[in-house]
Symmetry: C2
Subunit: 211 residues, 2 copies
């Protein structure tokens, strides 16, 4: 079990990328529903079982880069400038993501997603993971347990903002508008010293994080 940075890994990554690229190309050419897993496997010149050893499901072929998404949000929290408000850092990141979704390169993919119920459903279930991941990052930043209701709520609202903004007529303006609402929610949950509130922090489930 040493560090495996050899040819094997490169080959594996190459196979994975070939499958994903082939799938996306076929999906965009013929439509997601009209392309079967067996078609993708044949075109990528791999066995069906090999395809499923790289991707957990057909939908996962489309959201290949979603781990990236998940990771960027957590990083936006942990890697932000010292003293920068947490919510502001998240707004910037969501803003960038929404902008990218509307870019020419990504737009056809998102149109395909919007047209497929199966893909929309999968996207929604990804949000659960994203929200959980973001909850962990936020809770860690605040020194609270990830079970804290307020942390989970803010995380969920932030994830929602991406979905809501993507469907809005003016996505970037929507992000700003939604984040004004999120910041208000944040202030209620975690009153800052600056904003006079003298309201004790959330009355439920608040526990300092363990070691």
């Amino acid at each position: 079990m040493t560090v495996p940075t050899g040819r094997r890994e490169r080959k594996k990554a190459a196979t994975r990328r070939k499958i994903a690229d082939t799938a996306l190309r076929l999906f965009l050419e013929r439509g997601y529903g009209s392309v079967g897993i067996r078609d993708v496997a044949a075109e990528a010149d791999v066995a069906v079982t090999t395809l499923f050893s790289h991707f957990a499901s057909k939908e996962a072929l489309v959201f290949e880069q979603d781990e990236n998404f998940e990771h960027r949000l957590a990083q936006a929290v942990t890697d932000r400038a010292p003293r920068e408000p947490l919510v502001r850092a998240l707004r910037r990141e969501i803003q960038a993501m929404v902008r990218h979704c509307a870019s020419d390169s990504a737009a056809p993919v998102w149109r395909m997603i919007d047209e497929s119920p199966a893909l929309r459903q999968y996207e929604e279930s990804m949000r659960l993971r994203h929200a959980d991941s973001l909850t962990t990052a936020i809770a860690a930043d605040l020194g609270l347990s990830p079970a804290t209701t307020a942390c989970r709520t803010i995380a969920r609202f932030v994830i929602d903002s991406h979905a809501l903004a993507r469907e809005a007529a003016d996505p970037e303006a929507a992000v700003d508008e939604i984040f004004r609402m999120i910041e208000a929610a944040w202030e209620v949950a975690f009153p800052s010293r600056r904003a006079r509130g003298a309201v004790p922090p959330g009355s439920t489930g608040q526990r300092p994080a363990g070691p």
Copy 2:
């Protein structure tokens, strides 16, 4: 196409209920994943195609009453007492729903849902419909277009509160806490006359009652 309140409808409803009851019983007895559609159909003494003419999917067997859920939220908006704040009516309804989820009769079902990824995913996709439906009700109440970002955002937050509270240690307290955040978001999106002027954050909670 007259009012069809005859035997046919009763028979149909009976078949539907028999299928749903049988399914739920088998799922709880043997586990959701260990019971196949063919098992349910055989036990309910109907053909598989008949089962699918009553329910769109296997998961829909578990969430049989979800139309009820969707309808109740919209009703909470439209049927509330005159002048009652919209958000407060929604909080009451969500509170009641969450309480019901924790009741002895419903608890085993929700435990089953929590343990099945397929069911959790389906539940999450239901929320899209619920949020859309609630968006329509809220927008109508405010005389706005359902496309308004703030309406869609509030609706989504309210739907989230149900999911978040259900997973919290103290669900009812969680609903209160989340709705304090939602009300703050609401005030930012739709500033009320009463709340004009310098109002310190945190004072827009559900407490300043008064009819």
